[in-house]
């Protein structure tokens, strides 16, 4: 094993000699995530402030002036605007106003006769400002509607509870930690897999096909080190760099969230409830064999390729597969398909998802772990056997 360690040492030494790569691997994650999160938080806050402080612009058609007093009651919430030029729907889509409200002409009379009148609201549900306007409108109309119902019931000398046979009270069984945990559990495995694969991929190509392209592999093979040790050394390096990349990205991601959320005590408490040492330890433990599986695939493809371009072409589909499987496991209902515990890669995502969403099952975790370890072991056996052959290293 000494030879493998020496080869891995050589690869790491080479890495340390390239400042640009060092910066990208070790420093960039600690700049990128805080920058992204700060920007996202600032933009989100700005947009939220704007929406909260800005009155929703409404074009109102109300010939009987039934709803006018309600909408004019709070100028901070609603601003009645004149009819925009051209198509009304297009004006909403163009964000010239947030909502158009058309009240039936006979609304006043209908109210007098205790009949129902029609109100049509046109909104752009894909726009947050439009949705806020609709929510505000519903909030303003609801008490008025209740008021009208109570008046009608009073006229009929009926109990106010007549129009309210049941009162639904919703109690949320999930606490904030569970909600955040579920969200993280859905995203995290996907992110980890991508970080691990992409981290291994770049350096794996450099250490395998790159060595062939730079014609240095032969000088390694001409040393007294057994061929298998060279292969294992490269595998160790690709695996380690994948794990390091994923860990650094994770740490930076976690730090960014914690630091940016540190202004509210509850967010820190929530994060610490989810990211406890056991959860993180189990996450790391199951990611290790998965990283080894990825490293084997990259090594196998990389060493057999003649050039870095050829290696990239061979390794890239693996990345797409990882993305596809990651996205697949995020789909709702997937976690209820029991057979997926036996599907490699997918089972790791699902095990982590359940781990973070407080639905952890040791059995499922151990099945996924054992399967991934078995798969990584098998892949190591296959790749070292294939690559130990002369034709793999001297591809004609």
């Amino acid at each position: 094993m000494r030879g493998a360690l020496l080869i891995a040492k050589k690869e790491f030494l080479e890495l340390t000699k390239d400042r640009k790569t060092l910066f990208l691997v070790f420093v960039m994650p600690f700049l990128l995530y805080p920058a992204i999160f700060t920007m996202m938080a600032k933009l989100g806050k700005r947009s939220e402030d704007q929406n909260r402080n800005k009155a929703s612009r409404i074009y109102l058609v109300d010939p009987s002036a039934t709803l006018v007093p309600i909408l004019k009651a709070d100028p901070k919430q609603f601003e009645l605007v004149a009819k925009p030029e051209g198509d009304l729907r297009q004006a909403i889509r163009d964000q010239k106003l947030e909502l158009a409200l058309e009240v039936a002409p006979e609304a006043g009379a209908a109210l007098q006769k205790q009949e129902t009148f029609q109100v049509t609201a046109t909104v752009d549900e894909s726009e947050r400002a439009s949705n806020i306007a609709l929510k505000r409108l519903k909030g303003a109309l609801e008490p008025q509607e209740k008021n009208w119902i109570q008046t009608r019931l009073k006229t009929l000398s009926a109990s106010p509870q007549l129009a309210e046979p049941l009162k639904l009270e919703v109690k949320n069984a999930a606490d904030t930690a569970l909600e955040v945990g579920k969200a993280i559990g859905t995203m995290l495995p996907y992110l980890l897999m991508i970080m691990m694969y992409s981290g291994s991929m770049q350096h794996g190509i450099y250490a395998t096909a790159g060595e062939k392209e730079r014609q240095t592999l032969l000088s390694l093979m001409a040393t007294r080190l057994p061929r298998i040790q060279i292969i294992l050394g490269k595998l160790l390096y690709i695996f380690s760099i994948g794990v390091i990349s994923a860990l650094l990205n994770l740490v930076s991601l976690g730090l960014s969230i914690s630091i940016l959320g540190s202004d509210s005590t509850s967010s820190v408490q929530t994060m610490s409830a989810i990211a406890n040492p056991m959860t993180l330890g189990l996450t790391f433990m199951i990611m290790v064999p998965l990283g080894l599986f990825f490293a084997n695939f990259i090594l196998l493809m990389g060493i057999q390729a003649k050039t870095t371009v050829e290696a990239g072409t061979a390794i890239m589909p693996g990345m797409f597969l990882v993305i596809f499987l990651g996205v697949f496991t995020m789909a709702p209902g997937v976690d209820k398909m029991a057979f997926l515990s036996y599907v490699p890669v997918v089972n790791v995502c699902l095990a982590l998802r359940k781990l973070f969403s407080q639905q952890f099952s040791w059995l499922e975790y151990l099945v996924s772990f054992a399967m991934t370890v078995g798969l990584a072991g098998l892949m190591t056996l296959v790749s070292t056997r294939i690559l130990n052959q002369e034709k793999a290293l001297f591809k004609m």
Partner: protein, 253 residues
């Protein structure tokens, strides 16, 4: 000592046009012996089988049949033992340009299990011999091909090998650097090392080689001192012998 006995090697290549596999006999029954204190010149055109033969001697490739012994060890049975007593250099070998020569030699010293202090001392001595000591701590990414070749030579000789294989050591080198390499080969002969060199440069062969073997179509022709080959072929230069063999080879095909 190097000893080859009826060595064969073939490769299967794919013909993309016909989509069929083709078997190419790269080496066909080569037998030769190179003794300590001798420089053996292996000549032949491109694709004749020189590099394959040298790679098999260096235990980088296994022969399909026949046997090769280097320093008394079978290359197929004990490849690591063979490589530990052998220094191999080929023109298609690059250097790790992110390192300085000193760093590279230190690293290869570890690979060859040489004591770090010995590797440091021997590495600097070799760089000095190759007139590269001023560049010992300079990153190699700006080195010329000649400078890189010198570093490769130092790397190949770092572990003080008894057998040295140089595959086209002067290709791409200027006259002065080529002379340094040739001088080094002579020193190695004087030190009693077994040296085998493949080249296209005929004057170099006539100048330094004790014996010469010419490979054509994977077969060894000759295997005698250069003068004897010239006499037997009634030629004035090895170039002439080369052309004669090429004509014979074409006639036979």
């Amino acid at each position: 000592m190097i000893h080859l006995n009826e060595v064969h090697k073939s490769f299967t290549v794919k013909d993309r046009k016909t989509r069929s596999s083709k078997c190419i006999d790269a080496v066909r029954g080569i037998s030769l012996t190179v003794k300590p204190g001798e420089i053996y010149g292996l000549l032949g055109p491109n694709g004749a089988g020189k590099s394959t033969t040298l790679r098999m001697i260096a235990s980088l490739m296994d022969p399909d049949s026949g046997s090769i012994e280097v320093c008394g060890q079978d290359t197929k049975q004990k490849p690591e033992a063979v490589r530990s007593c052998l220094g191999y250099l080929s023109t298609d070998m690059g250097v790790y340009t992110r390192f300085t020569p000193r760093e590279l030699l230190r690293l290869f010293g570890e690979f060859q299990d040489v004591d770090p202090l010995v590797a440091e001392r021997r590495g600097l001595h070799l760089l000095d011999k190759l007139q590269l000591s001023d560049f010992a701590d300079v990153k190699m990414d700006g080195f010329s091909s000649g400078q890189k070749q010198k570093v490769s030579i130092a790397r190949a000789l770092l572990h003080d090998p008894k057998v040295v294989i140089f595959d086209e050591p002067t290709t791409g080198l200027d006259v002065l650097t080529a002379k340094t390499v040739l001088d080094l080969l002579r020193i190695m002969r004087e030190e009693g090392r077994t040296v085998i060199v493949s080249t296209h440069v005929m004057p170099m062969v006539e100048d330094i080689c004790d014996r010469v073997g010419i490979i054509f179509d994977g077969k060894l022709h000759g295997d005698a001192p250069p003068r004897e080959i010239l006499q037997s072929r009634r030629a004035k230069t090895l170039d002439e012998v080369f052309f004669q063999l090429a004509a014979e080879s074409e006639g036979a095909n």
